[in-house]
């Protein structure tokens, strides 16, 4: 998976794309951790807009990222979450730990 990240005044946005499964998750997790360790953001947004499939490996990714942000005393937010990844995230109860917003409606 290749992804784009944007940094603006300690706000890091990471645009995830493709399929997040066990096969892909490790690489994504390492790449997200590397970005956080380099930029030390106060606010991190994982943008799921381009994610076409996600299983429980994505939950591990979110927990992993949440821990990294907690260590920095920062905040994490999940944005543009499409229906299928959203259902997986909701099944895990992760919305109690991290803010999540749904997919942007088409303009």
């Amino acid at each position: 998976m290749n992804f784009t990240s944007l940094l603006q005044e300690k706000r890091l946005t990471i645009l995830l794309s493709g399929e997040i499964d066990h096969h892909a998750a490790k690489e994504i997790m390492e790449a997200v951790s590397a970005k956080i360790n380099v930029y030390l953001p106060q606010y991190c947004e994982l943008d799921f807009g381009g994610v076409s499939f996600m299983d429980s490996s994505g939950i591990a990714l979110v927990i992993h990222t949440l821990r990294a942000m907690n260590q920095l005393g920062g905040k994490l937010r999940l944005t543009n979450v499409p229906p299928q990844p959203r259902k997986v995230l909701l099944a895990s109860g992760i919305q109690k730990l991290v803010a999540m917003s749904q997919e942007r409606s088409p303009a």
Partner: protein
């Protein structure tokens, strides 16, 4: 229950086959005229089951994973994932949400998700012999006439 259609696929426990298993399942389910949501549910469930076989059944070797798809009367999709790997010593513990032996990059939510996305799940395992997960889901579908068995 007598099935109306069946497909069986065998593949080595390579993680790149997780996506393959999802695609095969989606292709088989297509004849049952599923909604997008239903397709998402069965792809997620099969992904979890096959990942478990790859991660837990064969932690340090490549073994064989068998995926069997069946169409049962009443538009019920049955997915069976079978391995001949290490097996589960304590099935009740494995079914607990957040329980994992897989380390920090696993969430321990796989079985919970399979149970909540499918209508039924049975898990049989023998340490040293392997594990079989069988899941069923009735597909309500889009109300169009799909492939008749």
């Amino acid at each position: 229950m007598k099935h109306e259609n069946e497909a069986v696929v065998r593949f080595p426990s390579l993680s790149c086959n997780e996506a393959f298993a999802r695609s095969v399942t989606a292709a088989f389910a297509a004849q049952m005229d599923p909604t997008l949501d239903e397709l998402g549910d069965v792809r997620t469930a099969v992904s979890e089951a096959v990942t478990n076989a790859i991660v837990h059944a064969y932690p340090d070797r490549i073994g064989t994973v068998l995926l069997r798809l069946r169409r049962l009367p009443g538009n019920v999709l049955e997915i069976t994932v079978k391995d001949a790997g290490s097996g589960i010593a304590d099935v009740a513990q494995a079914r607990q949400p957040m329980f994992t032996t897989g380390g920090a990059d696993r969430s321990g939510m796989g079985l919970t998700i399979m149970e909540s996305f499918m209508n039924s799940l049975s898990l049989r395992s023998q340490p040293g012999r392997g594990t079989t997960v069988r899941m069923r889901k009735k597909l309500i579908g889009r109300g169009e006439t799909a492939c008749k068995p």
